[in-house]
């Protein structure tokens, strides 16, 4: 019996299809690797490990965190894309998915075409911290002071294009004030500089600022999230104050991502498991202690978030570049 080429082609395609379905069902068939673009012990790494530990039990295969730090997290995403075999994923902060395209010369990937969103894990608001010696008590007072001395106040960030820098520029743009940007390399340096009175202000993670507020060496004037933080419920939300729009919001976030082309069934499975982990009160409490607010959601919601933030921060970067 002769088999027509068409029929044999059909057969091959059918086998391939069913193999694909079986692959998703049996998945994972080996250890799962999660690439993190920051060093072990850093905040994104600790957060990733909070997720991967329970994930190991849920998937029945070891889930290993692989730290590939560098270039503000972009190297982690690059390394994840190199492997791309349905067993390699990534946990990353927002920067490499939203602003790195604008900041890194030769990024080597395009978020829109190379990344498949899996799940948003958590968000972290920033607070505006000033030295205890500054004679303002609220955001309105700060804006007033800044307007009375245009270009005179200084603020620190952890580098050009960092979340702290862009947030400060978004804030200055929305309130119509002008401050001088002083870039540093770490939040430790920014905090030291504010405590020593060398610079006036800085946007930073609220979990890092609160101990200094408690010690009376720093004041925080507002938080950039839409809702007050459970960690500091008294801290006023910035949105709607001192001339800021009611929808003013600037948050760092961490997300679980996959290379584009990963089997949708696998992404669905991972999303379900991660949301289940985020429903565990013990996990959310640990995240909150580190300043992270758990954010369960769908892959589509993460995609929307990436698109919205790319636009938001893109506009801020445009403004900064226009000023230079």
């Amino acid at each position: 019996m002769t088999v027509s080429p068409f029929r044999s082609l059909m057969a091959v395609a059918l086998v391939a299809l069913s193999a694909g379905a079986a692959a998703a069902q049996d998945w994972p068939t080996g250890p799962v690797r999660v690439v993190v673009g920051f060093p072990a012990g850093s905040s994104p790494d600790t957060l990733a490990r909070l997720i991967t530990q329970p994930l190991t039990q849920r998937l029945g295969q070891p889930v290993i965190v692989d730290n590939k730090p560098g270039a503000g997290g972009a190297i982690g995403v690059q390394q994840m894309l190199v492997a791309g075999n349905d067993h390699t994923f990534g946990v990353t902060i927002n920067g490499p998915l939203t602003t790195s395209q604008r900041m890194v010369d030769d990024l080597g990937y395009d978020t829109a075409t190379d990344i498949a969103p899996v799940a948003l894990i958590a968000t972290s608001p920033l607070v505006l911290g000033v030295g205890a010696g500054m004679e303002v008590d609220d955001l309105a007072g700060f804006v007033e002071l800044a307007k009375s001395r245009p270009g005179d106040l200084t603020y620190g960030s952890v580098g050009q294009g960092s979340g702290a820098h862009l947030t400060a520029e978004l804030f200055s743009g929305a309130t119509g004030i002008e401050m001088l940007h002083i870039p540093f390399t770490s939040y430790a340096e920014v905090t030291t500089s504010i405590l020593g009175g060398e610079i006036d202000a800085g946007f930073m993670a609220h979990s890092a600022a609160l101990p200094h507020v408690e010690a009376g060496t720093m004041k925080v004037l507002g938080i950039t999230s839409a809702e007050p933080s459970a960690l500091a419920p008294d801290l006023p939300v910035m949105a709607g104050q001192a001339g800021l729009p009611a929808d003013f919001r600037a948050e760092l976030w961490n997300a679980f991502i996959a290379p584009a082309g990963t089997d949708p069934a696998i992404i669905e499975r991972l999303n379900t498991e991660i949301n289940a982990i985020l429903a565990d009160p013990a996990v959310t409490a640990q995240l909150l202690a580190m300043g992270w607010q758990a954010q369960p959601g769908t892959p589509a919601e993460l995609a929307d978030r990436i698109a919205a933030d790319t636009e938001l921060w893109g506009a801020v970067i445009d403004r900064i570049e226009a000023q230079e």
Binding site: P39, A40, G41, S42, S43, D45, T46, R49, V65, D66, N67, K68, P69, G70, A71, G72, A74, I75, Q78, M103, V104, D105, D106, L107, G108, T154, G159, Q160, G161, L180, I182, P183, F184, T185, S186, A188, E189, T191, T192, S193, L195, G196, E198, I199, S207, L210, P211, H212, E214, A215, T217, Q286, A289, M290
Partner: protein
């Protein structure tokens, strides 16, 4: 709580069997990791961090701290024996430690490094207990202008370490400064001299640079003729004891090294690597016969070793009193606390006294353990020299590669080691000093970013370097030192002409 009450309270914490056990584990691991080339405290602590999820926070911190200061002891071993620094901070130890080995005094050099490490740590602990609040006030009052001026002084003071020709020495410092420029410029965000590579965005990996310049270059030069060298005799305990003359020479450098290390360790941004370089420079400056340095002067081992160990202890000052980590390793330690729900900050000493005082006392216990552990090990370390080099050097190569890889899991950095190693070998052949290159590399970014930051804050007014008292002091000291050196070389030339 007064210091005395605190220490007694801390004894109660640190003498608990579990804490003691983790302290022992930490210092043993630290020593071994320090001995292995390339893999340093940073990589070891990040690899250990996940394990600390499962042990109590005091024990975790005590263990990780033990790894940190233990690695400073171990780092000296390969530096002295093989001119292969285990960690960047022990590069300087090789300058005089290795010549001592070549003179058959490896045991004495190792003994000197262990004892001055111990002395530096214990005195560092005294400084930490008595001066913690003063040091943390100094740390916050140091501004960009002060850092820039201080580092310029350091560069001026250290620029002549072990150099014959001044032009060749300066060329190495400048080359180091240039290599320090590679990567993202902090002030402008521009990526410089990285040839478009994302891998170089954060600059050249310090460990890759140190391992390439010292380890790899040394291995290449050492293979030929290695078999013909005599095998050193087994050393007895009496032979590694420094003689009365050596012991007398060690006291001053150890004390001064402790001072240098305690100060720079407590400042955020500077640390044990810079401390050891500056201690060496100081000893060479004030020595009556500086020409002995680089040829096996025991002062050149004792001073830097005391300095880097003291710095490893006082590095905890800003970390524990302000909750501000001075370097990436301290940031990791704080990360370990956060995992356990302890929020580091200025209130931690009062809120969690068992943390602070337990840790301080554990430093003492840990260093005592290190001394007891390491003195008998000296004999074993020296016997490494009895292994034929052909067995040793392939292992060195692989350990260097994996040590460099461990920093950030990057195979690019391994390839970088090969390139740097080739350059390092060429430098040794042409008798340029790679130590000065490393010095420029470490100090350069600190000087540039702080100088430009100071001018940014002062809106371009250079008077900021003379108006701030700390900066003004360092600027004056740098100028004075430059004039002094110029006068000295002028006089020397005059004498030669006469």
């Amino acid at each position: 709580m007064s210091a005395a009450e605190g220490l007694i309270f801390g004894l109660g914490v640190a003498l608990q069997p579990t804490i003691m056990l983790y302290c022992l584990i930490g210092v043993v691991l630290g020593t071994l990791i320090g001995v292995l080339p390339g893999i340093g405290a940073m990589a070891a602590i990040s690899l250990l961090l996940p394990i600390t999820y499962y042990i109590p926070p005091e024990a975790a911190l005590v263990m990780l701290a033990g790894v940190y200061y233990g690695s400073q002891y171990g780092g000296a071993v390969a530096s002295i024996l093989l001119r292969l620094p285990g960690t960047p901070q022990s590069v300087v130890t090789a300058l005089d430690g290795y010549p001592m080995t070549q003179q058959g005094r490896a045991g004495v050099a190792l003994f000197a490094s262990m004892v001055s490490s111990f002395a530096g740590s214990i005195l560092g602990i005294v400084v930490l207990v008595l001066l913690a609040s003063w040091l943390s006030a100094v740390a916050t009052s140091f501004g960009a202008a002060d850092y820039a001026a201080m580092m310029v002084l350091g560069l001026v003071a250290a620029s002549t370490i072990g150099a014959a020709a001044p032009a060749k020495a300066l060329a190495m410092v400048v080359l180091g400064l240039i290599l320090g420029c590679v990567g993202t410029d902090v002030n402008s965000g521009v990526q410089r001299l990285n040839f478009g590579s994302t891998q170089l965005m954060d600059g050249i990996n310090l460990v890759a640079l140190a391992m390439g310049l010292f380890g790899v270059a040394e291995v290449i030069g050492g293979i030929r003729g290695a078999e013909r060298h005599g095998v050193p005799e087994r050393v007895s305990f009496a032979q590694m004891m420094p003689g009365r003359d050596d012991a007398r020479r060690m006291v001053g450098p150890t004390l001064r090294g402790t001072g240098v290390g305690s100060f720079f360790g407590a400042l955020p941004g500077t640390g044990s690597t810079i401390s050891s370089f500056l201690s060496y420079a100081l000893e060479r400056r004030i020595a009556r016969r500086p020409e002995r340095f680089g040829k096996g002067a025991i002062e050149g081992v004792a001073g830097p070793e005391a300095a880097n160990n003291a710095a490893a202890i006082t590095a905890f000052v800003p970390t524990l009193t302000l909750g501000i980590p001075g370097d990436p390793i301290m940031a990791l330690m704080l990360g370990a606390l956060v995992i356990h729900g302890v929020q580091p900050g200025p209130m931690m000493i009062e809120a969690r006294p068992e943390m602070f005082w337990g840790l301080v006392v554990s430093f003492g216990i840990g260093n005592l353990l290190l001394l007891i552990l390491n003195l008998p090990l000296i004999g074993i370390w020296v016997s490494i020299l009895r292994i034929p080099f052909r067995w040793l050097y392939p292992a060195i190569i692989v350990f260097v590669c994996l040590g460099v890889y461990s920093v950030r899991g990057s195979t690019f950095d391994i390839l970088a080691v090969a390139v740097i190693g080739a350059a390092g070998y060429a430098l040794i052949l042409a008798s340029f000093s790679p130590a000065l290159l490393l010095l420029g590399f470490v100090l350069g970014p600190l000087i540039e970013t702080n100088l430009r930051r100071a001018l940014l804050i002062s809106r371009g007014d250079p008077m900021v370097f003379l108006e701030r008292p700390i900066a003004a002091f360092f600027v004056c000291a740098s100028v004075a030192l430059l004039l002094l050196s110029a006068a000295q070389s002028f006089r020397r030339r005059g004498r030669r002409a006469a």
